[in-house]
Symmetry: C2
Subunit: 567 residues, 2 copies
């Protein structure tokens, strides 16, 4: 705040002047001392001017209510929610999340700096604090076929942007630990800022080398033991509870059983579908779930607030204290934390306000460019009748590698109840590359499911039990320039169009949600088991940085060995 604002706030703090707004008689969660303090919160110009007893031009009685700081999502990809950025932020803010640390990794992989500018622009005037991490791995790895490449030199001008907090999740850990010069130029560029990690299942030795490069966070941690290994290296663990990856129970369960207070841990959603946000909440869900697992409520709130603010050096956020921004969550019960009201900069968030969708530049709406493609590209043969299988597991985005010999020893793969076909079609530079493999655990019968959202390169990914339906699904996504689609019995069942970079809908989240709900039900009715989110889990199957095995436009990739399988 400037001097005039300070002088005013100081006078209010000292009882010499009335505040604009006073929230009276609240039970205030002090995240510094872990106390619950009964008192008034004086607010002026969006800032908390004092805690104690105050008079205000407007006064609102909060007797019986708790007030805690607005929640912080330490790491998320706005694109993954399928709606435009402002919609996601608005919907999540109604659940108490007032600060979002977003990594426009998906947009950047499709449209480069224009994609990042889109995210910055769309979130410039939302009723929340949106910070941006500069995507570090565009493309994610050297074997990716994505839309753009970002170098340290491309990123340098963004250092001046106040909302850029640092370097986004560094996925390519081999380039890090091997001291690759291009990677380290990016790390060096952000050496005074935060460098986020992405480090699932590294060995202890590799993790030490990785942390030593200055990478200080990770959100890919799915076991408590691994979380402790990261903590030993001084890393902050972002406990992820998204639509597909749900790590909270394992990690918070470990904290609770060890009587640890969650220091060094924050919450994130990473990739959470707006439908799930509406159903179960956003970071408030993480807080509630932690409390249900036995964590002390104030510790859970601290992970959702001040600890995240400290992790990212966000001064003035994450606490209900003088000088802090008046981002507040009001609720009645400290166990259930049912969010009743949310304030951003001292203004009550209207739970029913209509969301205006900002226009997207045309260049970002026509991004699906495949080579010639037909079902011939989906043929899958093995000279010895052996097939490498990508085995999906419920509740996980990791996969296991298996091998398959079909009972009749056939060299051409055919689908059955257990095994189906998975393919990825390059869609940025019309290279014509198509990778095909076998998948287990997805269970689809009588059709195909396809998506233009497929991390991190966002090529077209499709799973099906017959080549005709798979071809149709891909053609449908080319027609709509991106989306989710389901083909059943040789007809398009339905398509959710995602024309913004092939990642997001600009038709409004109600439209998307309604459509998606039907489509998800349909997918499950076609055999996709509970525990597998038909589109979101699918969207990770091309991501060559998550173990153990993936499919890319270049073929089946062994993540552990770092090599492609030959059939």
């Amino acid at each position: 705040m400037d001097l005039k604002e300070y002088q005013k706030c100081s006078r209010i703090a000292r009882g010499l002047e009335k505040a604009e707004l006073v929230l009276k008689n609240a039970k205030i969660v002090n995240v510094f001392t872990r106390e619950i303090i009964e008192g008034d919160i004086a607010i002026t110009d969006g800032i908390i001017a004092g805690i104690g007893r105050f008079q205000g031009n407007t006064e609102k009685d909060l007797s019986g209510k708790y007030v805690c700081p607005g929640f912080i999502d330490s790491h998320l990809h706005l694109e993954s929610t399928l709606v435009t950025p402002a919609e996601l932020v608005t919907v999540a803010s109604r659940h108490g999340t007032t600060t979002f640390i977003v990594d426009p990794h998906e947009s950047a992989n499709v449209s480069g700096l224009a994609g990042i500018d889109y995210i910055l622009d769309q979130t410039a005037d939302v009723k929340a604090n949106v910070f941006v991490m500069m995507p570090s791995c565009v493309p994610a790895t050297a074997i990716d076929d994505n839309g753009c490449m970002l170098t340290a030199e491309d990123m340098a001008p963004y250092l001046e942007e106040k909302r850029i907090l640092g370097l986004g999740e560094v996925m390519d850990y081999l380039s890090v630990v091997n001291g690759d010069e291009l990677m380290h130029r990016k790390l060096e560029l952000f050496s005074d800022k935060i460098r986020d990690g992405h480090a699932p299942f590294l060995s202890e030795e590799d993790l030490q080398a990785y942390a030593m490069a200055g990478i200080s966070t990770d959100h890919e941690c799915s076991t408590f033991d691994y979380a402790m290994m990261e903590r030993r290296n001084g890393m902050t663990v972002h406990i992820r509870e998204g639509s597909a990856a749900r790590n909270l129970e394992a990690i918070v369960g470990g904290l609770v059983s060890r009587h640890m207070d969650g220091e060094g841990f924050c919450f994130c959603t990473d990739d959470k579908h707006i439908e799930d946000i509406e159903r179960e909440g956003h970071i408030d869900h993480n807080v509630r779930k932690s409390i249900a697992l036995g964590m002390d409520p104030v510790s859970a709130i601290r992970m959702a607030t001040i600890q995240a603010a400290n992790c990212y050096g966000l001064k003035g956020l994450g606490a209900v204290a003088p000088g802090y921004q008046a981002d507040l969550v009001v609720f009645e019960d400290l166990k259930s934390i049912h969010v009743e009201e949310v304030y951003h900069k001292g203004c009550l968030i209207d739970q029913n306000e209509e969301i205006v969708i900002k226009k997207c530049p045309d260049e970002l709406k026509n991004t699906v460019r495949t080579g010639t493609f037909s079902k011939e590209d989906l043929r899958l043969e093995s000279s010895d009748g052996m097939f490498h299988v990508l085995k999906m597991e419920a509740g996980q985005i990791t996969t296991k590698m298996e091998t398959l010999r079909q009972s009749d020893g056939a060299c051409e793969f055919y689908a059955d109840d257990c095994y189906q076909k998975i393919a990825v079609v390059e869609r940025h530079k019309a290279t014509g590359k198509v990778g095909v493999g076998v998948v287990k655990g997805f269970g689809i019968r009588g059709g195909a499911i396809a998506s233009s959202v497929s991390h991190d390169s966002h090529n077209l990914i499709v799973i099906g039990d017959n080549d005709e339906d798979m071809e149709l699904a891909v053609q449908e996504l080319i027609r709509t320039q991106g989306g989710y689609t389901i083909v059943a019995d040789h007809r398009v069942f339905d398509t959710l169009e995602l024309p913004v970079m092939g990642l997001m809908s600009d038709a409004g989240f109600r439209y998307s949600n309604t459509k998606l709900k039907t489509m998800i039900e349909k997918a499950h009715s076609m055999g996709v088991p509970e525990g597998i989110a038909p589109f979101i889990t699918l969207s990770f199957m091309a991501l060559p940085v998550i173990p153990e095995v993936r499919v890319t436009p270049r073929g089946i990739y062994d993540v552990v060995k770092g090599e492609f399988y030959q059939f």
Copy 2:
């Protein structure tokens, strides 16, 4: 570290290359997880490359020994130790303190920027990490008579200096909370850095306004309740255990009784005499004392290490973990923490190495410039026979205000066993100002004690029971251009010369300590009670920002009311 260094460290971490030095089989205190981890510490180029099992060109077995991070003194004034900066740092480093956050407030008050440059220069190549806070209040208040004035404009060029961490303790809280423009220009200048506080006994309202100005630490806290009030505002409390002010028992006692782990607290010495450092230790003493009070050893170590590093944003300091600087303390027992070995940047500190004293610029060695001065200036009369008394208290640098009417109702003050005279003589600009008052609790009989160290303006301060001896003491300090002196029975008993800005000796600490020991004994034999450090406690009696009453060259000052007393 640069890329080449990183590549080397990474190879060591991954077991592909030998480390320079491996400390084997240590019990390593992990300040992140609070675990004690048995293993080796691999060190190369002064950096910890890995924790685990390693081979090194040099290996040293630490079986049975604990290793924790080097200690951090979060706030100190090097000048207050009376010796040159490098000596203090060297002596304290032998006790395990490897990082010093110094505020050259005293040097700046005498010699301005030249004084700050002196501290930076003298500590540029010591075997420790020395960071500097830019003195914020030079002079400390508008009523001070010091040597220089520093404005925000004077400070601006120092923003570029990597060792400048922020703005030093902001004492003039009224200028802060009243929104004084000159003060806020300084606060604004350091808004991206740390702004240290100095906020004893503010009301809750004032403290909120003070914290709201972005001031995030305080080391003046002497009660647990006040510490909690600061914590509620998000401030970090530096628990001070110096030569005169000893706040550790009160604060750590409170933490222990409330089962709190010390989060948000660090340790500092503020002003600690080298004699006391040699006798009881430095920050290691704070750690030991906290453990003796019942604090968990790892929590105490955390306050001395990572919590201080986090408070000041010191990346790579405060932990024994990969990528951290190899500043280490070795000890055998986790309760007694008797420091056996100290490493700085991976090199063992030689406990017996001779300390070379760097030359001081001549301009900083002739700084005592008084006006004409004689004992006539020490006359003290009151028209109504009432005298305001500055009452000193054992173990405190705060004072109480009392009034005195002499038993015979005399209008001219005379000393007795209970009351003596205190005077401060301006010595920077030869203004001739002399303030005289009555002191209780110092107890000196048969002479005078004087010092050119008198916070924060460092004029000449003297207490005595007769004007002749007081005059002689002042004349002696003019002759030596600064020092501590004792006059007994009309003769100089002894003088410790402090020619460097009137604050420091350049004769070596052994010389100073020997002399000081005799002088302190003499002072106590003349009546100064235990619990009053004859020179250090004296040196605070002119500091007009510590309640309740002080003496300055302008007279007796009521700190609480902010006004001078008239006799």
